[in-house]
């Protein structure tokens, strides 16, 4: 296992956010994503537990784009990857972000 941590500048949100949001099914062989509000001023941070080594730069790019797409303020993203491709990661993150920002549909 490899543990990767990334920190980006927070992009302020004017929306109230949820307590926490989980996307994906734990221990289903599927990627699991947890979004939680961060401490004020903590920025947008991400912690990735991954089984595949050597993909740090790709994770960084995926997460930078994610925080750019979704202004979520100070937020912590935790990811348990089950060898997922960036496609799955991106989809899960987008699904979680919409729910986190309380989009009522």
């Amino acid at each position: 296992m490899e543990r990767l941590e990334f920190r980006f500048a927070a992009r302020p949100t004017n929306r109230p956010t949820a307590d926490h949001v989980v996307a994906g099914v734990v221990s289903s062989g599927n990627l699991e994503v947890l979004l939680e509000p961060g401490a004020p001023g903590s920025g947008a941070t991400a912690v990735v537990e991954t089984s595949a080594r050597g993909f740090g730069p790709i994770w960084e790019a995926v997460l930078r784009d994610f925080f750019e797409r979704h202004p979520l303020g100070d937020v912590t993203v935790s990811i348990n990857d089950a060898g997922a491709t960036p496609a799955v990661v991106g989809l899960r993150l987008d699904q979680a972000a919409v729910a986190f920002a309380g989009d009522p549909r």
């Binding site: 491709t85 496609a87 799955v88 989809l91 699904q95 549909r105």
Partner: protein, 553 residues
């Protein structure tokens, strides 16, 4: 001129030669019927060194018994054969090269035997002619490559030699026609000898010998995709295709590839597409095998007509019970025909399929460095049919959009779509700067890199990141950036010019899910009309009988 030396020219050498060969086998056959244990003796009697030979072997049906019988002939008697057949799939297909029975090869596709074939080419045991598409090789059967002897597979035969090829007719018609009408020999292995065949697929006087095989011919269920394995990313891409391509171009006539990506499209027609009100407006006529994942779309009235290249194990009863949809004979069973299905797909409005690699020009290939895989049918399905003259809304719209055209008479364009995730298994990028096909060309001394679909024929690339509409690219540079713009986090995607990509997006040459009004939260497995093989059986009212390996209940 030396008038005295002129011999009267003989114009029926082939017919005379055929009579000699038939006479040589007279002690082996009882009428036309040859017992299985004498199959090798028959082949030794009728084959001559250097003969062009076709062993019927395609995606599914294989003349496997005759292939083994051929691999057992004495190479001192039969050697230097030129094999002209669509698929190299079974071990005996290559054993004949290993043993020196055959030397030259013209073929279309070699799935599982690709590695071994590569070795035999390297060792000089196979002289590789060319890798063809199906239609291309069948065409050459009627020009420069008619088989002298064709070994085919049929379901049943009568004593006179009439053949019933049944749902898996597949490649038999062009092979038999080319051999029989060029004074070649047609030898059929059959599963059953019967008093009366259910229908005559091949008339007796085209057939030289019939060999009842000890076991039914091998058929591979290669078109069955278990819906349980379809991912949410594939569902997202399927939604993107329906909303971003099928709906705006009003695609009614099309061909689907056979992977999980297109299975996902089939399985959300009765849900996602129906909710968009697209029933009766898209996906009405298809040229495709009877993939079980089509059952819900057929049952809900989405897909109205399907012509099949082959059949699929377990689908026989279902297909037979839906004669308004499939092409069914007077006997009540389907007749597939790969040549006609390829032709139908060639003139359809759209082809969509997957590939292993796409380069910056949009060329795609399934070739990898160590494996000679071949193409199958994709190059004909996946090319603009420039002989087409009839119009349809999507064909006209694609022609109008095509910014690469400069002047000339107005014409339409076929929609050719590649549907791929940016990374395949084991984080192998689908998008590459240089196709492995170039290495393959060098390693095996091919005249051309084995490109499956040429960039100039490709109109759209769809990934989890969205759609690149190549018709709207004005320059090669724009085309390259449009491809990079949907290539995700592959090295090719990361090297995009972000500003150019945003400009292309503003112009609609790149479309993201949000541009199409797709909510990614809807990309869930709930959207699949069937989520398991068992669901498919239920949709079919119990008519679909999946092979044991797909049953887990």
């Amino acid at each position: 001129m030396d008038g005295g030396g002129l011999q009267p020219r003989v114009w029926d050498r082939l017919a005379r030669d055929k009579r000699e060969r038939l006479a040589a086998a007279s002690g082996i056959a009882d009428g036309k019927v040859v017992p299985a244990e004498r199959a090798t003796a028959l082949l030794e009697a009728v084959l001559r060194p250097g003969d062009r030979l076709c062993i019927e072997g395609n995606n599914q049906k294989h003349a496997d018994f005759l292939a083994s019988a051929l691999a057992a002939v004495d190479p001192a008697r039969v050697h230097d054969l030129h094999i002209v057949q669509s698929n190299i799939a079974l071990a005996p297909h290559l054993d004949v090269f290993e043993r020196g029975i055959a030397r030259r090869l013209d073929f279309c596709y070699s799935g599982p035997q690709g590695l071994r074939m590569a070795r035999l080419v390297t060792e000089g045991r196979i002289e590789l002619g060319a890798i063809h598409t199906y239609l291309e090789l069948y065409s050459r059967y009627f020009m420069d490559l008619p088989p002298r002897v064709a070994l085919v597979a049929a379901e049943s035969a009568d004593a006179a030699g009439n053949l019933y090829t049944g749902p898996n007719t597949e490649d038999t018609p062009p092979i038999v026609e080319a051999a029989a009408f060029k004074d070649g020999l047609v030898i059929a292995q059959v599963n059953h000898l019967v008093d009366r065949v259910p229908r005559v697929d091949v008339p007796a006087d085209w057939v030289s010998f019939v060999v009842p095989a000890p076991k039914p011919h091998y058929i591979e269920p290669i078109f069955t995709r278990d819906p349980a394995q379809i991912s949410e990313v594939q569902i997202l891409m399927a939604m993107t295709v329906i909303k971003g391509i099928y709906e705006p171009y009003q695609v009614t006539r099309l061909n689907h590839g056979i992977g999980f990506d297109t299975a996902a499209i089939e399985l959300i027609l009765p849900t996602f597409a129906a909710e968009l009100g697209l029933k009766g407006r898209i996906c009405r006529y298809m040229s495709v095998n009877p993939c079980p994942t089509l059952i819900p779309a057929i049952e809900s009235g989405f897909v109205e007509t399907i012509h099949c290249a082959g059949s699929e194990l377990g689908m026989e009863d279902y297909v037979a019970a839906r004669s308004d949809v499939f092409f069914i004979g007077p006997d009540g069973t389907m007749r597939s025909n790969r040549a006609f299905c390829q032709m139908a797909g060639h003139y359809a409005d759209l082809f969509i399929g997957s590939t292993l690699q796409i380069d910056l020009q949009g060329n795609s290939s399934t070739a990898t460095r160590s494996r000679i895989a071949g193409f199958g049918g994709a190059p004909n399905f996946g090319s603009d049919s420039r002989g087409r003259r009839h119009a349809s809304p999507g064909w006209l719209a694609a022609g109008r959009q095509d910014l690469s055209r400069t002047g000339g008479a107005p014409r339409g364009r076929k929609l050719v779509v590649q549907l791929v995730e940016t990374f395949r298994e084991h984080m192998e990028p689908t998008f590459v700067e240089r196709l492995d096909a170039w290495d393959l060309m060098e390693s095996f001394n091919l005249d051309l890199p084995p490109v499956m679909i040429y960039g100039e024929d490709l109109t759209h690339v769809v990934t989890e990141e969205g759609i690149a509409n190549l018709l709207l690219c004005r320059t090669l540079e724009e085309r390259e950036q449009a491809i990079r713009g949907v290539a995700g986090y592959t090295p090719v995607g990361l090297a995009r010019d972000r500003r150019m990509v945003e400009n292309l997006r503003d112009r609609g040459a790149i479309l993201r899910a949000e541009d199409l009004g797709i909510d990614k939260r809807d990309a869930r497995r709930d959207l699949l009309a069937a989520r398991s093989i068992k669901d498919l059986v239920r949709w079919s009212g119990g008519l679909y009988r999946p092979p044991a390996r797909f049953r887990n209940w």
